[in-house]
Symmetry: C2
Subunit: 254 residues, 2 copies
């Protein structure tokens, strides 16, 4: 269960190094992270709300979602995770999370013990900082979702969600884009505070407008500039660029 990780951690390492500068040694430490992989069925809950966990998950394949339930049983999805993400990295410092995690389609995760994460975070301050920063970016996305759900129309909300996943998937290249998007309309509705019926109608409108088309677990963006404009989408909050010189360590000169 040790060194298959070189393959497994690749996506996660890429996510980290997108925003944090890590030395080769530190990168190796990430790759050497132990863990057991598991296949999750569609819609299966793999971290229950309020469950206490001793490990965190790296998402290797498929999409997952953070979710909560209201007393009336209504579901709200509060984050979408794509391969390479670590949906519950935050459990490393807060093992008791009110939200749960579930698979959106079929997905596979690598369960990494907290002890291992804490060990490398303690040994390499730059890794601790990278983990911290990653959690902060997750929060930043949540704040943008609040703007999306609180203040935008249904149509803009749907468009914005698609834009975000496109950008995070690095799928945009020119005016068109096509990428994995294995969310059902019910799941999209739960992510956007809408009903599935309304999402359905909204999606048809977006298609009729020549902006975007969803089919069979794929999204086809037909006109990226127009869609981004319609969605009021500004990718800055995703923090996907990092200046090469801004290697930051907790101890300024160490």
């Amino acid at each position: 269960m040790a060194s298959t990780s070189n393959t497994h951690c690749h996506g996660f390492l890429r996510r980290l190094t997108q925003r944090s500068n890590l030395s080769p040694v530190e990168q190796q430490a990430i790759c050497d992270l132990p863990g057991r992989s598991a296949k999750i069925r569609s819609n299966e809950v793999f971290v229950h709300p309020n469950e206490e966990v001793d490990h965190a998950c790296i998402l290797l394949e498929g999409f997952a979602a953070r979710f909560d339930h209201s007393a009336e049983g209504k579901r709200q999805i509060s984050a979408i995770y794509i391969p390479g993400d670590m949906p519950d990295l935050q459990s490393t410092v807060l093992s008791h999370s009110p939200s749960g995690l579930q698979a959106l389609g079929i997905c596979t995760v690598l369960r990494v013990p907290h002890s291992a994460l804490r060990a490398i975070a303690g040994r390499y301050p730059a890794i601790a900082e990278a983990f911290w920063r990653d959690c902060v970016i997750d929060a930043s996305i949540a704040f943008q979702w609040l703007l999306n759900i609180g203040r935008r129309t249904a149509s803009a909300r749907v468009a914005h969600l698609i834009c975000e996943i496109a950008a995070r998937s690095k799928a945009v290249d020119g005016a068109r884009a096509s990428f994995d998007f294995p969310m059902t309309q019910v799941q999209i509705a739960d992510a956007l505070g809408l009903t599935a019926i309304h999402v359905n109608r909204t999606l048809r409108t977006l298609r009729d407008q020549g902006l975007v088309q969803l089919k069979r677990n794929k999204a086809d963006i037909l006109d990226w500039p127009a869609l981004a404009e319609h969605a009021d989408f500004d990718p800055a909050y995703l923090q996907q660029k990092i200046g090469p010189q801004q290697r930051l360590t907790l101890v300024a000169g160490a």
Copy 2:
């Protein structure tokens, strides 16, 4: 500008030690944090959206809010901060935040240089961890807000916001509670994805139901159990209890 901090940091230290176990030395390091205090006028923006900052703020007095704007100029408040909070602690690892910060009433903040925060985080892993954890709890609150805005009625949303501030202010003691709540109806609306008019009508209903009453920058909770029930409020996400033995350090045995 150095050691007035013993007083200034008191609230912040209390917030940290509520969720993280810090040794006396570490606590002293927090109290020794340098900083300049500043008075902020009502509604003044003290951290602009997308501004790059070299310091973070401890909120000493008054309420502040994190906010964003949509392209149409609509405002969404995505977090409320009360005295003792550090609204932009996350800027220590991500100096470029898409959200802005503004005062809700008059407030005073202590601006602490990132360099000082990074220095003590580097020197004391337990402090780095406490900072990380604090950011994670902020995110946890944001996730609950998504549930609130996405899936609850206007009335439950308003009630939930009031419950949250009551709990964070440690104001609840029995069935009744009274505490500072310097938010206007416009601000409440912006925090909940509603219009001020609707908030006004909702507040009147809540008052008529004998649940809660807002007046002159104060909130009076008339029937806490009923209000919490109506709001579907469960304080678990605020993580305000910590077991005495769960002192966690990044390096397991260090």
